[in-house]
Assembly symmetry: C2
Homo-oligomer: 500 residues x 2
């Protein structure tokens, strides 16, 4: 059997090492760039392999938002106080039922230093705040609310502050600029960047990762990485087979956010003995809060019932939508809050009426379902309270101005973008852990190839993945650079079990 | 590093083989018994290792119900017609978004032959039918409705028939008797049964499984299994660490159904290169339909909304409960339907009132939430229809006789039993597949160590796991017995990748 993503090559079977380096990094998104940069600065010779023709990955498709807190210049200038404790609590809550307490604590204590580090690399931050519910700023402002900080139950346990620190950039898509800056620093630091280089297998020396096989110019080359291999290959939102086996509820969505997010690093890491956890988890969102007056709407499922405080982060609301039965949900708005949804969202107007009873009837719903929901909602909204789902008072607008409309968000036809959150289990150092919790020698991972700070679709907040990519990418680079080099292709080190 | 569940021993490192057999089976529940039996009858020398002092596993804790259809004697005698096609469709629907079409088809075509095989082993079936909604018969009758066949949406696509074929047995717990019978046949067939034998690692010869390490009498012994190892070790409902990493939503439940269901086979299979899929899925249930008048009740969540047709299989209803926010749900009943819940279920009466409005108020719920739900429900129930959740007409009893009560099912304190449904990905032959879909030579799995027919908590039906254990256990046994023996500890067979 040929070596592959699923079957590492044994070092003893390598006829010739075609290239030597201390640290090999796979993938040139934000995680890979940060890992390579720190490894090189720590004195390691670093080779970075990227499958595509250049840097980017899913990071370059993002808004370039990084989740940072604890009292940054921008937070202070905008009049917000924040603390490392509040940030840590928020990260813990957002991490869901198996949040990684160590990573949350480490990141929370160091996010301001990390922010400074990003500035030191040349990432520009204007330090100005945009209020309101925005997905990313289209101006060059750089601080926004990017999660569920103000929403229940988060606001009750973690003192809220805006923490989405966005690269200074006009318009959408600051992620490309962020990666460009990190790429420039990476090259300056002497990292040997090799693009159009597809890594096809790891090379193992007993339990340890010794290098990798890469396909370049039609040839397979064996690369010896003395101190370690760092997998920064992204998630698996573009691998239909993996989605089916591990995250079938994401498989029905139509817009994977990725470039080459084929799960190759997760597969290679598992084949090397690494544990992959929470593979069923995914982030998803539908851009229903643009135009922003729609953010005052009320969501109901096909039974006419609300299911969440609609003021939570759009990803949390969208992920909860997907839990609802019937394949679609409705966003209810009145004349005052109605706006034509973005074309791209493919949200259609399903019913219009002079009363909620008429909308209910036009949707073919039972009398006293949707209309009863809206009667309760409007009664409470008039008092600025939501005893059912704890929506914040500023979003409790009574929907009482005719005509009324129901917009339909269909899970299979509306625009639901998504990416996966499960991946290789790593220590805060970036070391890949095996199923017994022991590091696989010589193997590191960061970004969405790993299971990091974001690991629960219902808790995701914008900037959390890039925070994880950049910060824990750096840790992985440092750890690999400091790793004691393994003896050149030593013998297997597993104990002999004898009978007797 | 010592060999362990997470790190196979290499055959080259075995100093002495302490025992030789053609086929080694690990675990002596129903799956292991059937695997061993078929392997032995096919001419293989079989050794079966069981960690406990005797046979049983989770199978012996069950009701001994097996999901069989297509027109059995019992179905026909009770006046039901059924077909292999209807059975296959039902299994497909019950398997959820990644149902295994090949296994569903193979089982549906062969379930009557399998039923005959079970009878041939001496499993008694009286062939008599018990109507109604029962968890298992307490009489010695042997056919019941054991799933969601009559419930929406199943009834619309798969012609309903009762398919729970239960071993003839007075009282609860026929599973113990089923395993005893299979054990007797296993011993008669010449299987070498070794109890108090804990398998601690697999032994690999390159990519192939060559044997296993077992701890017996304080010693570790190396067992050579020439034709294969069959993992029948059950799921991981009793391994808190695995639950946290792979199925954190099950980790909060308090009653794992298992004996030694510690996931050891899944871990060893993964360490040998096997793929494990749908590890997040689990069956769960709370015994709320005993006494059976409670089955006429209505479930609402903390927002006062219904969330499922309550006539679905109790496991499907219970699993959907756990998706609801707030940590508990309420079962609403009136004077006519009220009965004291089973003590064991730890379901408490949370509110009583002369009207649904009073119950609503006593629960501290918003006016017009629960009471509006019940107004709609009672109006529709009077007409025998449920346009919202499609509950069958025979379960649409208006709840109109005061006093009214809300029973509270708390997810953390009520009795929620559960077991895991994810496991090693296997072919219908029982071969364990690697992440590329290629069999791991010499490795087989069956029962809840594998991901079989049941793989979606919301679709589980009673008898589906034992059907899978027994039928696919047999396939695994046959496959292993027919496997070409590997050359005694051959060299690794992986291709050498050379660079030019």
């Amino acid at each position: 059997m040929k070596a592959s993503l699923h079957h590492p090559l044994q070092a003893a079977d390598v006829i010739q090492w075609d290239h030597h380096c201390d640290v090999a990094v796979v993938g040139f998104g934000a995680a890979g760039a940060c890992a390579a940069l720190e490894a090189a600065r720590a004195g390691a010779s670093v080779t970075l392999f990227e499958m595509a023709g250049g840097s980017g990955g899913a990071s370059a498709l993002s808004g370039g938002e990084i989740y940072i807190g604890g009292g940054s210049d921008a937070q202070t200038a905008a009049g917000f106080s924040d603390s490392a404790e509040a940030l840590e609590t928020y990260l813990q809550m957002a991490g869901g039922p198996d949040a990684d307490a160590d990573k949350c604590a480490l990141y929370a204590r160091n996010s301001l230093d990390h922010y400074q580090w990003l500035k030191d690399q040349g990432v520009p931050y204007k330090g100005t705040y945009v209020p309101g519910k925005v997905i990313e700023p289209t101006t060059d402002d750089t601080l926004i609310w990017s999660g569920s900080e103000l929403a229940w139950p988060f606001r009750e346990q973690a003192a809220p502050a805006p923490r989405g620190h966005v690269i200074q950039h006009e318009g959408w898509g600051g992620g490309r600029k962020l990666v460009d800056i990190l790429e420039a620093r990476t090259v300056e630091a002497g990292v040997d960047v090799q693009c159009n280089a597809r890594v096809t297998a790891l090379i193992m020396d007993g339990r340890a990762v010794a290098g990798l096989v890469v396909r370049q110019d039609g040839q397979e080359r064996c690369i010896r990485a003395t101190r370690g291999v760092i997998l920064c290959t992204g998630g698996f939102c573009m691998n239909e087979d993996m989605l089916r086996r591990y995250a079938p509820h994401a498989a029905k969505l139509n817009d994977p956010i990725g470039v080459n997010d084929n799960g190759s690093g997760i597969e290679m890491g598992m084949a090397a003995g690494g544990d992959a956890i929470h593979l069923d988890e995914f982030f998803s969102t539908c851009p229903w809060i643009m135009p922003d007056s729609l953010a005052q709407g009320v969501f109901v499922n096909v039974a006419g019932n609300r299911f969440i405080g609609e003021d939570a982060y759009h990803g949390r609301v969208s992920r909860t939508m997907l839990d609802q039965p019937g394949g679609h949900v409705y966003l209810l708005v009145d004349n005052a809050t109605f706006a034509q949804p973005l074309d791209i969202a493919r949200i259609e107007i399903a019913a219009v009426g002079e009363s909620w009873e008429e909308v209910e009837a036009e949707l073919g719903m039972e009398p006293e379902t949707l209309s009863a929901t809206m009667r309760v909602y409007n009664r409470n909204a008039a008092q600025g309270r939501d005893p059912l789902f704890h929506r914040g008072p500023e979003f409790m607008t009574p929907l009482v101005e005719a005509p009324f409309a129901a917009l339909k968000l269909d899970f299979s036809t509306s625009y639901f973008s998504f990416f996966t959150l499960g991946g290789l289990n790593t220590a805060p150092t970036g070391e890949v852990l095996d199923r017994g919790g022991i590091p696989v020698p010589g193997l590191y991972a960061a970004g969405r190839a790993s299971c990091g700070l974001p690991r629960w679709g219902h808790g995701y907040s914008s900037g959390m993945s890039l925070a994880d990519c950049t910060f824990f990418g750096r840790q992985a680079g440092l750890s690999a650079a400091r790793n004691e080099p393994a003896d050149a292709v030593s013998n297997r080190s597993i104990d002999v079990v004898s009978a007797e």
